[in-house]
Amino acid sequence: MARALINVPATARRGDIIDIKALISHEMETGFRRTQLGVPIPRDIITQFICTYNGAEIFRAEFHPAIAANPFIAFSTIATESGTITFNWSGDNGFSAAESAAISVA
């Protein structure tokens, strides 16, 4: 089960630039490592992160094996309207996680 920490300001003024941070727990197994017996450890990573603001996509990232465990993403956007910011991660072995945060824009 994935755990995630989201940081979105609860309130903002219209037109403000707001910082958004998202941290999620994930092993990010690269697929390049082997066990002590030489057996390859299969790749298990998050491959995609999408952030939407009231349904409209505002940020998307593709993840690759060089991304560290427990990936942290920080970016900014412009506060346009009150509503919900949702975060979706998906990856290998059917991995999927979602979080959301409410923002009130005055």
Binding site: R3, L5, I6, L23, I24, A68, N70, A74
Partner: protein
């Protein structure tokens, strides 16, 4: 220095050992404990970015384990079907300051126990549940959740007379040369903490941030894991998790860091 030049092919580890020996030779005979006002947390040796990670709870990956710990705290376990919260209530109140005074002397064990051992004893006696393995995700999660409740509080100086001989045993271990490199903890962490080893800061080795998220581990780890790393680095045989020697060393390190703040969950490079 010619030995160093001749053996360039011998690998980084070899030149590192030689560099360390030179450093030690340059300061032979100092071996004094760090005066209290000169003590510095590992935090102060870190770069700006790593500090920022520790300072922001939404960027500090250690907080992911805290979330787990909070859930475990409220989850019933064992044959007694008790959760930690059933006896201890809200950890934010009941566990405040607890991590700042562990390891603590335990009358039943007739020796000091660290926080993880104390959690496991509670599991066994109250919850009637099997102990959690050292370094397991659940034990680290509970320890870091309890540790967080002491964040910002000073480490309490040990006042229990019964613990004193164990502090001394820890100090003796800290100052004892061991391993194939014949190094003591003190030679790096008391005598050379203001220098660098292979580009990395040699810190003073204070325990207040544990369990902490180490970028090198890409995960959370206990103080004992870090101590075992250091022992392997001196090419000594590391003590097993929970062994008396490691707990004594933890106890001595907490005494050495008395008055410094708990930072759990810290972030280190």
């Amino acid at each position: 220095m010619s030995a160093l030049a001749d053996n360039r092919a011998g690998g980084a580890l070899r030149s590192l050992c030689i560099a360390m020996l030179l450093v030690v030779a340059a300061r032979a005979g100092s071996a004094a404990e760090i005066p209290l006002p000169q003590r510095r947390s590992g935090y102060e040796f870190m770069g700006r970015e790593t500090r920022a990670m520790q300072d922001d709870d939404s960027a500090n990956p250690g907080m992911l384990w805290v979330l787990d710990g909070e859930k475990l705290w409220n989850t019933k376990a064992g044959a007694a079907a008790l959760a930690c919260a059933d006896c201890h209530g809200d950890a934010r109140a009941s566990m405040r300051g607890v991590a700042a005074r562990y390891p603590a002397f335990d009358a039943a064990a007739a020796r000091p126990v660290n926080l993880q051992q104390r959690i496991n004893r509670c599991r066994g006696e109250q919850q009637k549940a099997p102990p959690l393995a050292f370094e397991s995700k659940d034990l680290l999660a509970l320890a870091v959740y309890v540790g967080l409740q002491s964040r910002g509080l000073p480490i309490v100086p040990q006042t229990d007379e019964r613990a004193k001989p164990f502090i001394e045993a820890g100090r003796e271990l800290f100052q004892r040369r061991q391993g194939q490199l014949n190094l003591s903890c003190a030679q790096c962490h008391d005598d050379n903490w203001d220098r660098r080893l292979a580009g990395n800061a040699i810190t003073q080795g204070h325990p207040g941030g544990y369990p902490l998220y180490r970028l090198e581990w890409q995960g959370l780890g206990s103080l004992q894991r870090r101590l075992r790393n250091c022992l392997v680095g001196t090419r000594a045989q590391a003590y097993d998790y929970g062994e008396a020697e490691l707990v004594n060393l933890e106890l001595f390190l907490m005494w050495r860091a008395r008055g410094m703040n708990i930072e759990t969950p810290a972030v280190r490079p």
